[in-house]
Amino acid sequence: MNKSLKKKLESDFDSSVEILEKNGWTITANKNQVLDILRFLKGEGFDYLALISCVDWIEKGEFELIYILSSYLADKEKMHLILKTRIPRKKPDFETTIHIFENAEPYERELHELFGVNFNGHPRLEPLFLDRNYKTPPFRKDFDTRKYVEETFGSIKSVEGKK
């Protein structure tokens, strides 16, 4: 059963499947096929979206979007699939997956705020955690948090000595 799923993923879609361990697969896909693969996997029974994440590969100039899927069904709940795709770092645009998985909404909001990835079609891309605007989104690799702390908080003087 698993072998046929692996063959179908490799032949029908432009993706490569790597088996990391017995129940954990990694699927690397082209960014134009991600939505089709997600719909296909949901039809096969993987109906639980655990996480949407993003990794900043600054040397290659790319963001890597990660979708981690699992299942509520008894014969597939041991497996988890990691679906990866790469988008360019200079112009990080992507499609939203809310109409496939309804609980993708806060994950995409968080990635928009912390990495600057734009999800087209998302109904509510407003700030989730942060209260102010940063010049570089804070989770990117070129945001130096220690220097930011020195400049912003180190420059505020204490009140004790003032008359």
């Binding site: 129940n23 655990a50 996480l51 994440s53 990660i66 609980n103 806060p106 989730l128 942060l130 989770f139």
Partner: protein, 367 residues
Amino acid sequence: MTERELEMYFGPQHMGMVGNFGITLTVKGDRILKAKANPGYLHRGFEKLMELRTWTQNSPLVCRVNVMEPHSMEMVYSMAVEKLAGIKVPMRAKYIRTLTLELSRLASHLFGCWAYANMLGFDTVAQWAMYHRDLILDLFEDFTGGRVYPIYIWPGGVRRDLPDGFKEKALNVLHEIRSKISDYDATFFNNKLFYDRAKGIGKISQEEAKNLGGTGQILRGNGVESDIRKIEPYAAYDKIDFEIPTREGGDAYSRVWIIRDEMIQSVHIAMKCLEQMPEGSVYNKVPNPFKWKIPKGETYVRVESSRGELGLYMVSNGGDKPYRVHFRTPSYPHGLTILEKILVGENIADVGNIMISLYVTPPEIDR
């Protein structure tokens, strides 16, 4: 007389809020029309801070993500590092890890009982629950070294062996808690007032829960028998026999009843661990922490915390620090999407009741 819509802030400083979390409610009279969760009061940028510290330096930091149950965070971090680096854990360490995790689950459920009983006004039960939780924290101080932040489970095993005389003390505490569950039942769980105030409140159907990514008590309160300790066993859970309690209904009443059933199962598992514990060493040495580099790779591990599925996605670039770390916490879908859906149509006086029965912890949402 016309009623109009008002926007009010059920903000962080409120007797009905446990934790630093805000909800913006749009109300008409006493009924809620729309709810908007307002997280971010506890955001520290945890995952960014972990990229600047080495693999060993991250151990004291990682338990502080969720303050109610720090041991599960350490467990999931150690499991991810062990998978990436290929380190094995001795058998005695697996049993001690199971014991620690079950005691931590018991302490977290007793804290939940305090919060929920206080919210409904049952002060006596709240005082009992806090007292029993303090007995467990005394045990933690004995063998891990700290009441709240233990830094005990680390990659390779656990830090030190159990002290002499620990087994008798632990069995005494577990017997005491088990024998008092009948008092809790008589005062709180079998009380008609609890039934009146919680039945039918905060109801969510099984299909909606699965669509919105719910795990833990939200699924088990709808009759789904799903627990990661049985799906993908870790530590010593495949060697101990235990049950998974479920209930029908999907409302606050069934979720809080499952907390009580899980407490009994935790006591049973902890006692079995103490009886069956083998001898041996408690940790396998890891390489020199100043020069420890882990080969390239990525992994996703998961653990059943007291609130649901807790997962960690970790990427290593071959260096001495993690390249990317992302915690998948159970309170994230529960506190953001499910809370906003459930609150529509409820009364303002029931907001605290619903929030605590969903078992949402704000530091897990913000990290």
